[in-house]
Amino acid sequence: MALLSVENLNFAYAGHSQTVLKDISFRVERGEFILVCGPSGSGKTTLLRHIKPRLEPVGTKSGCVKYYGKELDRWPERETAAKIGMILQNPENQIVAQTVRHELAFGLECIGTPPNTILKRVAETVSYFGIEHLYNKKTSELSGGEKQIVATASIMTMRPDLLLLDEPASQLDPIAARSLYDLLVRMNNELGITIIMTEHRLDDIFPIARRVMLMDNGKLLCDNTPEKTAAYIGESENETLKDLLPAAPRIYLEVNKLIPQTPSETNKIDDISLPIMTRQVKPWFENAAAKYLDLTGIKEKQPKRDDGLSKSACVKKGEDKIIELKELHFKFEKQGENVIDNLSLDLNRGEFLSIVGGNGAGKTTLLRLISGILKPYSGSVKKSYPGLKISFLPQNPQSLFAHDRVIDDLKFVDDFIRSAPAVKIKKSRESKLHNRPVTENGSLDKLMEKLEIGGIIEKHPYDLSAGEMQRAAVAMLLITNPDVLLLDEPTKGLDKHSKKNLAELLTALCKEGVCVVTVTHDIEFAAEYSDCCAMLFDGKILSKEPPRSLFSDNMCYTTVAHLVADRVFEKAVTVRDVLNEWKAHSVKN
């Protein structure tokens, strides 16, 4: 008997006429590993919540969800609470207890497990997960990644059959995300736990899932192996859907279109399935390149052909420089290590700079230093003129919204800026007043038009998707007319399409002369969209280079596209680069 079967499920939220789930049917056997993907707002989360009793959203529903052949609501509550586990998106909020020990026991306590059994189950789970080092800690001391692992472990103590995960890694950095995925694969392989998850990091998940469901607009479009779903996505006419395709199959697909087709070779191009692993695409790509491309002299030709490659391209001189960081040092404690250690960096007008680096490299601290929230221990942040406005968007855009509608927030900031046109500037212990450029009437309307946020301004900020919320927050900051816009992890929790929209917005701002600085874990985003990239390591900026030069030097800390194509095109770091190079070198027949 199937573990789970969803039969003709339709659903609309209470008070809304729009159906969020449209006639969804599928069956899940024991031990499957299923990824549910789709653009934001396609109904993925709503679907997952229908499978978890007690989290089912309120609204009108038809059809049913059966667990082992019996409808979910006819099972005893305690049984389904234990057998169907759910991990939510945000690691901060799904932790209930103050100590890891209590957190692990919480579920078992709730369903009335005898005390001696609780301790034994907790001990077993801690040993299996290898989290002895966390067991005696307070939950507030854990990192985001550790919290998600503890949350997973605390579900595991209840011995579930089925684990539902709603974007479990969207708030995590790539390393923490990968250790969570490894754990899931292990649980699936070794314990036979069935997993259904939604996720935006499709590049990482496609290779480990065994079945991928594609949803759009509440419909289940495709439900097949990762290879076949990838092919379906690749064939799609819809741009938003196409953005979902991971880089490796995308290169396979796009390059295939460029290869002159001869009848004997058509059987090689499999329309129904696409390879999804880098290790599959890489040798294919190298073979195809050897066969179809004229690669003579590629290595000598390259630097001349693309002047964006020279390392000095990012170091502009003269009037363009608006902020100069000079030998910055910063530490939190007297005895502590330097978080920022002798860091020097120039920021130029109209530049889109991405600062990449691992956990604890000091990325957020650097932004807080630039924005003036923190003062450097030694060294200086020199502005090119005193009234220079720097705006900083913290990791959580929630920290900006104070009203029930986005438009009220925008108006509040606008009114404030108008009523306080003077800016206090501290310079050698005396503060001077500087006048801001006067905001014209109707500038708010123009801004909203420019950002295309007309559709969301009437909504409550918390009803927005992650991408929309990011956009609304940027809009608030733009009212203050910043010369420099600092963004802390702007792509956190965003799907590929929202990232693209955000990048377009930021690029447009750069063209108007704003200097945009993002710090991010997301090297794909940095490589694809920014003018310059800098790697922050051990409190220092190692180099500031164009992304093509920085990432093409790297062997592992680099993009998937570069990993696939590095032996053929040394300098290609994005899918677009690979395709452009291919076109440039293909033999004209």
Partner: protein, 294 residues
Amino acid sequence: MKFSLQLAHPAVTFVLFMSVAGMTIISFHPVNIALSLFFSLVSVIIFNGKKGLKLAVFFCVPLMAITVFLNTFFNNNGVTFLFSVGNLQIMLEGLIYGLCSAGAIAATVMWFSCYSAVMSSEKFLYLFGRAAPSAALLVSLTLEQSNLMRQKLKLIDDGQHSLYGDAEKSLAQKLRLALNKVTVLLSWVMEDSIITADAMNARGFGTGKMTKMRPYIWRFADKTFFITLFVFITLCVASFFKGTIRFDFFPLLDELKPAAAEIVTYIIFFVFYSLPLLAELKEALKWRSYQSKI
């Protein structure tokens, strides 16, 4: 550093500190209070280190000064005239009473500081969680939430700094912005607590009676310590009812008459207040002799 009282069963730690603090307040006897004050001071320095010393010097001393001042100047129930300041007559009884209350308050504060050094809120919840699991959980969630709120406030400050930080503000605007921050925090916290509620529901919270994991067991050492403690509490309470540790301040101060019964009582109290230190001392000695063997 781990204290042996941290490893003890929470019930032992709880009863120990509650009883020493309680006994300090129950009996307003100068000797009792002097003993309690002395041992609480030593304990707070042992358990809390520099922080304990700071608490004693910068919090307890000013608190004592105020208490002594108020009692000396405004409590004129006594009869032994010392001197007068303006219209105020200063009495010996008021001064002594002030000194004793100051000592009692300071000692209680320091005992509670020791308590919090060895007793986490989780242990407290463990003790009372079985009787009232939902109330205990509520306390735990609230404590956790205050932690998260502090982190959120930092992020909110960052965001607000970008929007309004460098502008010249009027007082009304400053107030408005402060209110703004509170609104941001509240809506954020509310939104997040919905997710916490989901996470709890998902794990079967509210499906019926809860049980409680028992991570602490009664060791032999806990039992013997608890019995010792119990004996001393009984002796202390008995001497209180017998009147050997009672003292009247008003209208005229009692005399301290150190008869045999009183001296025995003082010794009992001396040992009683030193129990937290003895527990640590025993552990230290044991470790020392153990170390010399290996």
